[in-house]
């Protein structure tokens, strides 16, 4: 009964998505750990980490699609939430280094010793505890989103104006995290991580574990997002997207509804950032750069806005293309390719990759129906 209800809520393509992520989460670590290097089925640790990075981006894209695709809030600063989640994880990892740093200070990370810090800033307190750090991964992006959203939505800032101030938000954070006196490592950011939960971050087994954790988090993110959009609350969000003033005149406090989805989305982005950092081994202010947030919007548009699965697909496809493009002589042209892809998708396939897939499917279905009816009429006389 509950299973049947769950299957209905996830929709066909959602189930397919969950099955693929689950399969990837089992097979890729297995091919990495159990199959010896030489074998054609072996997947190198580098490839696994790369795919893990794509899956973090997919989570981030789902978070963005939840606010943009369903509620019409075009955030051009969502990377800020991703980066804040990443910094919270980075701070935990820094404090795990302990006295193994270059300067051997058991409490202060290297950059603080270098900058003549005498004691740990209050912002870093408690980050040596994993549960506290994980709580901050959710709370810091969530709190920023709450304050920002409360002010913006209450003042009825919408459309391009809202997009511009989200951009300003991430730009401001970008500039401030560059500063050494912010106490977050300045432009070098946080790196040289050693352990996570007592396991060596560089070890193959830990990498596989982080990969599995990313798949689990992606599945949870998708299920939560899907439950939200399938509920009546999801319908209210779409109503706000399509006819905000109508929704308001029906008696809905549009600002409260926007605020809830905005905060949830920011927390999801924070978790994606937190899983990203131990896999890539560094977090620095460049993650706040406005261009990152805009790129994420492009992933969602290319994959198919307002579909969740499309957002995740777009993130993986575009980042795979980026990997190919930027590893050879084409590197200089990547941004042109990305821009071109965006224009092409907007003009030729406004519903994104998912839209093309749905079109093909419905065309095949109707062709099959025609063929079936022909076969039936052909058989009738015999």
């Amino acid at each position: 009964m509950i299973t049947a209800r769950f299957i209905r809520l996830m929709e066909g393509r959602g189930l397919l998505f969950l099955a693929i992520v689950a399969a990837v989460g089992v097979l890729i670590p297995a091919c990495n750990l159990l199959i010896p290097p030489g074998s054609p089925l072996h997947i190198s640790t580098g490839t696994m980490v790369l795919i893990g990075k794509y899956l973090c981006y997919a989570m981030f894209a789902i978070a963005l699609d939840l606010v943009w695709g369903y509620c019409g809030i075009l955030s051009l600063g969502h990377g800020a939430f991703f980066a804040l989640g990443g910094y919270a994880m980075g701070m935990y990892l820094m404090r795990q280094i302990g006295s193994r740093g270059v300067y051997g200070n058991p409490i202060l990370p290297d950059f603080m010793v270098f900058l003549n810090y005498k004691e740990l800033p209050i912002t870093w307190w408690g980050f040596q505890h994993f549960p506290y750090a994980m709580l901050m991964v959710l709370l810091v992006p969530g709190l920023l989103a709450f304050v920002f959203g409360w002010l913006a939505f209450r003042s009825r800032v919408t459309g391009v104006y809202l997009s511009i101030i989200t951009q300003a938000m991430t730009y401001a954070l970008w500039l401030s995290f560059f500063r050494n006196d912010m106490g977050f490592g300045g432009n070098n950011g946080l790196t040289d991580f050693k352990d996570i939960l007592g396991f060596n971050v560089q070890a193959q087994g830990t990498r596989a574990g982080l990969f599995v954790a990313t798949c689990v988090a992606l599945i949870l993110t998708f299920v939560i997002a899907r439950l939200i959009v399938a509920s009546t609350y999801g319908k209210v969000l779409v109503s706000i997207r399509d006819a905000e003033s109508r929704t308001r005149f029906l008696g809905y406090r549009v600002e409260h509804h926007k605020l809830l989805v905005w905060v949830v989305s920011a927390m999801m982005a924070g978790v994606a950032g937190a899983l990203y950092v131990p896999q890539v081994g560094i977090i620095n202010p460049s993650e706040f750069h406005p261009a990152n947030s805009i790129e994420a919007v492009v992933w969602v548009a290319i994959g198919g806005r307002g579909t969740l699965v499309g957002a995740a697909l777009g993130a993986v496809v575009v980042n795979y293309l980026k990997t190919i493009f930027t590893s050879g002589w084409l590197a200089a042209y990547w941004l042109f390719a990305l821009g071109g892809l965006f224009v092409l998708v907007t003009l030729a396939m406004p519903k994104g990759l998912i839209g093309v897939w749905e079109d093909v499917r419905s065309r095949l279905k109707s062709r099959k129906a025609v063929a079936d009816s022909k076969a039936a009429s052909g058989q009738a006389p015999t």
């Binding site: 509920s231 319908k235 399509d242 109508r246 005149f249 008696g251």
Partner: protein, 250 residues
């Protein structure tokens, strides 16, 4: 508020100006409980601005806007609060949620808790189909309940919006040009529908179509340049020299 009134809606000396243009000049109007009133007037007479003031979209510069026997001062609330207090509004251009089904449009409009958590986990997910169908039957859209609202004809969208108003269960309905773009048969059906609705609700209808206003058979108020020009039965207002002058031009 010292003013004591038995009216469901009481407007006294309401003025609104936009950058020096006076959209309403000391407009006064009262509506008795259970009454239906038609508002007519040329373009720019202030009909829509009056609705904006009543529903909290526009703040008035001066004047009283009281609701429900003077117990509620509407100037102190915003749109969402006024909808909760019991005033439903239908827009001039039909605005329904086009990417939702007809039934979902009514579901979202139904009276009840409108907070995000109620919509996420609570009561709004457990509304019986019969409740929705009751409203769709009234506006004759029951056969279209599973269609997307965006696929409805213009006239059907107008009716759906009226069904959404009814589902809110307001005390007062403000209906802006309900028969614009409707066929004659649809116009006639809409007049019957509004008379039916008027049995349990107070109604204000803004409309240009004189045949339709006549079919409503209610009191008529003619606005001109932001204040009341004439008020009375349709024949009295239509026969008023100044009304004729305003409509035909001097």
């Amino acid at each position: 508020m010292s003013t004591v009134t038995q009216s469901i809606l009481y407007l006294d000396g309401v003025s609104v100006s936009f950058d020096g243009f006076k959209a309403l000049r000391s407009l006064s109007l009262t509506l008795e409980p259970g009454e239906m009133r038609a508002i007519i007037g040329p373009n720019g007479a202030g009909k829509t601005t009056m609705m904006d003031v009543i529903t909290g979209k526009t703040r008035c510069d001066e004047g009283d806007v009281l609701f429900d026997k003077g117990s509620v001062d509407l100037t102190r609330f915003d749109e969402a609060a006024i909808a909760e207090i019991g005033i439903g509004r239908k827009f001039q251009k039909p605005t329904v949620f086009e990417s939702h089904t007809v039934a979902d449009n009514v579901l979202l409009a139904l009276k009840g808790d409108r907070g995000p958590f109620s919509a996420l986990f609570g009561a709004r997910n457990r509304i019986a189909a019969e409740t929705i169908d009751r409203y769709l039957t009234i506006v004759r859209l029951i056969d279209h309940r599973a269609r997307l609202a965006g696929d409805l004809s213009h006239g059907q969208k107008q009716w759906l919006e009226i069904a959404m108003l009814l589902a809110q269960d307001p005390k007062l309905l403000l209906i802006d040009e309900p028969v614009a773009g409707m066929t004659d048969a649809e116009t006639e059906a809409t007049a019957d529908l509004l008379k039916e609705i008027n049995k349990d609700h107070s109604v204000i209808v803004v409309e240009h179509d004189m045949g339709f206003v006549r079919a409503l058979g209610c009191r008529v108020t003619c606005l001109h340049e932001g204040s009341v020009l004439a008020e009375g039965s349709i024949d009295a207002v239509a026969g008023n020299e100044r009304v004729v002058e305003v409509y035909l031009g001097r």
